[in-house]
Symmetry: C2
């Protein structure tokens, strides 16, 4: 096999030290990769690159299709977005895959209790609250939008099932909060079971995310692959990292259609930077996920077995292992693994398996892809009203008439809620309100309205009250496209 060229960003803090250690191991194992080192990270923000990378770095990644990166720091300050998140989103790496497996030599609560861990988390990597779309609506009220889309859900669920099929998992679990977020997480869950039908040999089930958190700390052995939305997946991933000893042992892959990113997700550890004592294991494991993705199975298995053998023999950096034995520094730890190339651990050997990806060089699209799912023929979309969000320090009974006086026959004020709880026309005097209400206006059944009419109405009402936001109420065929208020 001829060499594959990949882009490598060493990262900030301990990044360069651990990346050098990993690449030394790769070289010793004669991994057929060529490295193109690129400029990304904190210092490139400081040099004026607002996304934390040079145009050459971006071009390199978009040409090679693979980015192997160390930890990076995002400068603190308002308006600066995380470089890690920007990279994942800009390049549409829609699935974050993390694999958590007990390692002999890494002691945890669960290893002490004799419970082996072997869980793969697949996290949707683009949507949810990670859109970062936030507004201060009043001086007291902040809003973050949480988006879940059908195409985005399809991509991540299909990835999870494809991975399960390719790698021999027999069960995929969807975790969600669809009992509360009935429309957004309801959509995520609905798409999960639609995609599951294409994989009849794999058991598909689902679980409420809080129940998952409880079961992961009580019976982690019940789960093989768990697929989740973005933030829930983030939290559950780190929970699982805790089960196997922390972020120092938790690799991460961000998989996209054209570009994939393999990275250690731990921090840059400025306190130990330059001391050559950092633990390179998470970055090495991430690199092994990359080799498997690229189909370099033989090299991945050989290196992984050497790592497992090394750990099993009590070799450790200062952050883990037996306090009574020598702490290896980064270079010594990497050299121990290099010396052990060819050795195998006594149990829990590296899985051999098949390539986990279908790597081809990116074909640069001419334009952005707009993913649209097939529309049901003949389904009528219809605007049936509007939710107006307004700032007011008055109670709901004072607010209602302001709206009613603008409504012509056929339109009616249906309800007013505060923090999601109905306060008008009925409610409880015990409901504590803030200075931001949602006011729902609906058309009578025989009255046809439109979004233009609703916005025009809003602009008239806006003469009398401050409208922070408007949201159309729509029906899709017979299906109502909005939720009721609590208590409505």
């Amino acid at each position: 096999m001829s060499n594959i060229k990949i882009s490598v960003a060493k990262g900030d803090g301990i990044g360069p030290e651990i990346m050098d250690a990993v690449l030394n191991i790769f070289n010793a194992a004669q991994v057929p990769l060529t490295y193109e080192f690129i400029d990304m990270g904190k210092s490139f923000y400081d040099k004026g690159f607002s996304t934390g990378m040079t145009p050459e770095a971006k071009e390199s990644v978009e040409t090679n299709g693979i980015l192997f990166k160390g930890p990076m720091e995002t400068p603190k300050g308002k308006g600066v977005k995380s470089i890690n998140v920007t990279a994942r989103k800009t390049w549409s790496t829609f699935a974050n895959r993390r694999h958590f497996r007990s390692l002999n030599g890494v002691e945890t609560v669960f290893s002490k209790a004799g419970i082996p861990i072997d869980i793969t988390i697949v996290r949707e990597n683009i949507e949810g609250t990670y859109g970062g779309i936030e507004h201060m609506l009043t001086q007291d009220v902040a809003l973050c939008r949480r988006f879940i889309t059908r195409p985005g859900s399809e991509e991540v669920h299909r990835f999870a099932f494809e991975m399960a099929r390719k790698e021999g998992f027999t069960q995929v679990t969807c975790a969600h909060k669809a009992n509360i977020m009935k429309i957004t997480d309801g959509l995520f869950l609905e798409v999960f079971y639609e995609i599951a039908k294409e994989y009849p040999e794999i058991e598909a089930n689902d679980i409420i995310v809080d129940d998952l958190a409880m079961k992961l700390v009580a019976k982690p052995q019940n789960f093989q692959v768990v697929v989740l939305t973005n933030l829930q997946g983030d939290i559950m991933s780190d929970l699982c990292a805790g089960l196997v000893g922390g972020l120092g042992f938790a690799p991460s892959a961000n998989i996209g259609e054209n570009i994939s990113i393999f990275e250690a997700v731990h921090g840059t550890a400025p306190d130990i930077t330059g001391k050559n004592i950092a633990n390179p294991t998470a970055l090495l494991l991430s690199g092994l996920m990359m080799l498997r993705y690229l189909g370099l199975m033989e090299h991945a298995v050989k290196i992984e077995n050497a790592l497992l053998y090394t750990l099993e023999n009590g070799v450790h950096t200062g952050d883990f292992g037996d306090k009574n034995t020598k702490n290896y520094n980064t270079t010594e730890f990497a050299n121990a693994i290099i010396e052990n190339l060819g050795n195998e651990p006594s149990n829990n050997k590296a899985r051999i398996g098949k390539a986990t990806g279908n790597f081809t060089l990116p074909s640069k699209p001419l334009t952005q892809k707009v993913m649209v799912t097939p529309r049901q023929a003949g389904m009528v979309e219809q605007v049936v009203g509007v939710d107006l969000f307004v700032e007011s320090q008055e109670t709901a009974d004072k607010i209602a008439p302001i709206f009613q006086k603008h409504l012509k026959p056929g339109l009616k004020l249906v309800m007013i809620s505060n923090r999601g709880t109905q306060v008008w026309p009925t409610g409880s005097v015990f409901t504590e309100c803030v200075d931001h209400y949602r006011v729902r206006i609906e058309a009578e059944a025989d009255y046809k309205t439109s979004q233009a009419e609703m916005l025009e109405l809003s602009s008239r009402i806006a003469q009398d009250i401050y409208i922070t936001s408007t949201e159309m109420l729509r029906k899709y065929g017979d299906k109502i496209g909005y939720s009721l208020a609590q208590g409505q």
Copy 2:
């Protein structure tokens, strides 16, 4: 002390069995309470009460101020909201307090590893995505609004610090995701440190919620009190329940200014309903939180010690404990505790402490309270533009001119994003889009606009493109009240 009258709802499924067991224990311990049994739960939805409770039940709770409830089921079906959530929100029980403590006799991964658990979670109980404000914006795109407010954050943080002060905790930790949700969780965190200043004797610190998940499964002993937003608190609560043996051992209190609810949060267990084998421990522990809240410390301590003694002696229902010893049924388990009233466990005795609440009968407000924080004198609020959310299957370069042609001098199209990632004027061709864009229009520095103008502009643009939502862009003094797009 004369008797306090409380409202009791036995609940669905195993609810009546475990409630009877708990009240039998209370009676045996001569707890000075009078019970008013009320009608709430699944069967009252079926009888046509849309909130799952009768008007008499509501009146009882609002008069007595205390609701002690068993588990309840919400009927499945669109539009029906959870009775538990409705109760919490309608009566503004803003703080959910849960206490997780290792129990001798309840074996867990952590007890096997010799790690004792003693953590209190305080969860904001009204806001976040629990507002349940959701819309389908297009056939492909669902939105859930996540609200965080300053008054709501103040209430829950003050509760956490007051509790810490009253009960002798020395540390309160705020968990959040302010690195991603900089405005919403940023507000929650900012208010935390503002309130912390009033409690200088208590150590206040904060942690990213995914890091918390990792640390809770690795070093739970590092935490005393953790305060979180609603869904994050929900997930972390159940994680902690897992640490101590599951929901069967995890009590819950919902504390409000006028009304407080004490409940078991486990399910109604229809599979074992009527068999008299359910475990009443979680409901009993919730009842003990209620006694402590009401200042009935002596009774609480006596019953808790009897429970701990009973568990320590290996008495257990069928869901836990030594499989080789007898399973006690619900009645036998309760009777064992009754017989042990007066006994104390060999270690981890019940804490004595002071009343955790300041109970007084609710004073029914004449009208809903609108909580508004003091405004900074002279701060100018100013509309500086609008975010328009639109449905389109075109790429951003096709969409931009539709907006530009409606803009008069002084207003400019600043950027277009898709799923939060900027795609116009610059972006990456690798960014995968869905059929829903955000289009940001801003006023030039020297142009004064207003929300009425922005809405009027929206209604004109709506002739050419479907606008699903509008969101004002506002400045508060010098502070910009909205986030940038990823890559902007």
